[in-house]
């Protein structure tokens, strides 16, 4: 009869910190079930939980523990909108974060804007999230323009003449492909570029791949998310289109560090060039190292960018509450606007320039690396472009056939 209260008391004392104060609620809207990207949602949740535990172990913020209130948006914009509405009106959260699918973020920021609640965008790349110029929306995560520019610079450095991209039919995919088209025209005017949009629910992309076999391009770029991205990569390989001695395969979606990448992409992943926001050889601040160690301890795997992005999202909210000395959403928003905080990936400052840089951490570090063997951990991949460095073409390894 007394077993449960007794165990609970022991657990609380073992944790080392006992909170009497009411918790500060932070709303988390992520995909925890299909058709959303549950893979991303799970990674985001892992990163957030690590930071929540770190913060609470240190006594919380303003003497109060952080409580994360989760809502499953299933990757569906309408569900995201309803989730945000519920988090703000019923759960009374002080801020919302965790967003990792652009179409959902675009729906959710409307609600956050209407109620004046800070929204820290974890991983929605679409520039449209920024160009709405909502004062409540802060973007410490990556953005399409950044990736497109990086990819265009890579194409220019490699002096490629003919490039094809496959983009998923979403705000993220189409937006990214259009921007890539624009930046290739600017940075590599001699390159012929076209993109094909594919249905992310489809399981067969062979006809689109077959069309490339007669006249293979110099590079095929992936702008899709799993599982469709994995299927496309495998079909490109099986049809002998990419990667080959003629055609590079480039992952522009940063998928190679996903925990399920090698299970789903075997030979097709070898020799692939990858855009990434994190590489174990990058220099990261002490907080980043702490989060990486904790993740490795918990998951027995190398962390990926989403772990850090999620960690930074919550750290920014916590620091803003500390600076504001208040949980009032408007005070948190004001603190975020003037933020100068070193998180897991660098020092955050939000630009007030209009356009895609609005309330964006502009100088997000990124790298390019090449996978040179099947099942290769990212730490052993070839880093061909470090953060802030030019791409070293001589380090690239072309497939034998």
């Amino acid at each position: 009869m007394f077993r449960i209260p007794l165990v609970a008391s022991v657990a609380v004392f073992a944790a080392g910190v006992v909170f009497a104060a009411e918790p500060i609620k932070v709303g988390i809207s992520i995909a925890q079930s299909p058709p959303g990207s549950v893979v991303q949602g799970t990674q985001v949740k892992d990163g957030l939980e690590i930071v929540k535990d770190i913060v609470n172990k240190q006594g919380g913020v303003l003497g109060r523990p952080i409580e994360l209130v989760y809502e499953d948006n299933q990757g569906i914009p309408e569900k995201g909108r309803a989730a945000s509405e519920k988090l703000i009106t019923k759960d009374k959260v002080v801020a919302i974060t965790g967003g990792h699918q652009s179409s959902v973020c675009l729906a959710e920021i409307e609600v956050a804007h209407r109620y004046g609640v800070p929204y820290v965008n974890t991983n929605c790349w679409s520039d449209d999230v920024r160009t709405k110029h909502y004062p409540e929306v802060f973007n410490p995560g990556n953005y399409n323009t950044r990736v497109s520019m990086a990819m265009a610079e890579t194409i220019a450095a490699m002096k490629l003449k003919n490039v094809v991209a496959f983009a998923e039919n979403t705000d993220y995919g189409i937006g990214q492909a259009k921007l890539l088209d624009k930046f290739i025209k600017e940075k590599s005017p001699g390159t012929k570029f076209r993109y094909e949009t594919l249905d992310r629910a489809s399981k067969d992309f062979t006809p689109a791949v077959l069309a490339l076999r007669a006249n293979p391009p110099d590079m095929v770029i992936n702008i899709m998310l799993p599982p469709a991205a994995y299927i496309l990569m495998n079909q490109l390989y099986e049809q002998g289109v990419a990667p080959t001695a003629k055609t590079w395969s480039y992952d522009g979606a940063g998928l190679a560090d996903y925990p399920d990448f090698w299970q789903n992409v075997k030979d097709a992943g070898k020799d692939m060039i990858c855009f990434a926001l994190y590489h174990p050889k990058m220099n990261i601040p002490p907080l980043g190292k702490q989060v990486a160690e904790e993740y490795t301890k918990r998951a027995k795997a190398e962390p990926n960018r989403l772990i850090f992005q999620a960690a930074d999202s919550l750290l920014l909210i916590v620091d803003a509450i500390k600076q504001a000395k208040s949980t009032d959403p408007k005070a948190i928003e004001a603190a975020l606007r003037t933020m100068n905080f070193t998180g897991t990936r660098g020092t955050f400052k939000f630009s007030q320039e209009p356009g895609y840089t609005y309330q964006q951490w502009v100088d997000i570090p990124y790298v390019n690396y090449q996978l040179t063997a099947v099942n290769q951990p990212i730490s052993q991949s070839h880093l061909i472009q470090g953060p802030g460095q030019p791409l070293d073409v001589s380090k690239l390894q072309k497939p034998a056939k």
């Binding site: 925890q32 079930s33 299909p34 058709p35 549950v38 893979v39 949602g41 799970t42 039919n169 094909e196 949009t197 594919l198 249905d199 629910a201 489809s202 399981k203 067969d204 062979t206 006809p207 689109a208 077959l210 069309a211 076999r213 007669a214 799993p226 599982p227 994995y230 299927i231 495998n234 390989y237 099986e238 049809q239 002998g240 925990p259 399920d260 299970q263 789903n264 992409v265 075997k266 030979d267």
Partner: protein, 296 residues
Amino acid sequence: MLVVDLFVNGLIVGLFYALMAVGLAMIFGVLKIVNFAHGEFYMIGAYTYVLVALKLGVSPWAALPLAAIAGALVGWLVERSLMRPLYAGYGSWSIMKDEYAVVVTFGLSLFLINLVDKVVGPYPYRGPALVETSRFAIGPVMLNGQKLIAAGVSAALLIGLALFIKRSLWGRQIQAVAQNRLGASLAGIDATRTTSLIFAISGLLAALSGALLAPVINPSPDVGGFPAVKSYVIVVLGGMGSVWGAMIASLLLGVLESFFAVYVSYDYRDAFGLLILMLVLIFRPQGLLGEKVREL
């Protein structure tokens, strides 16, 4: 050479469509209902194959029949537990048969997707291939070993199924129940047992289709949605309830989609299937091999 490539690929895809659609057509033929959980039979086959082969270390060749058995078992269980009210003495229920079938199969579909999501996890799992050769060329056509085997097994199964329905005693019983359930019962055919058999065959075919494609499609919990939608299109296209019609419509759709994607627009490939469906419904509402029926 692209034409040959596209034709071969279209035929292979058509065979996969057929394996899925035939089971759905059989269920409609006998019960006149649409099974909205049919895609989840496919998902169960894919997951059984992947988990048995990867987690238990069973040979993929042995995992294949196990996946088929799992699909047949689930099909049989669904019929026993959820479909019986449609015809087994629940008088008032039979009046709202269509509503019952839609709600119960749709609910089952959502339940199975979420069950697998929570129990197995959200990550896609690529199944081990039946053969090591991931790609090889026959003349101008580049082929995937797994896809070729899957297409061969699908073709053999479809021919076997056609012979089974046409020549075996059970097959004739299925035909009889599909034509007239009451008449078949009066002639001494156990219509209930025949319906169980149809659900088991339907589950088996869909599960086998999922298992054969598991190394190609990287199954995740919602993997059945897309092939199920294609199957509904095919069943209507071929003629509601017609097994032969479903087979022909599958191959036709596979080849036409393949050509349309390259020569017209990849973006509208799936819309193209629906366009064909609309045209068939306008000019030949009974489908390719369906029969005109007038209800009195």
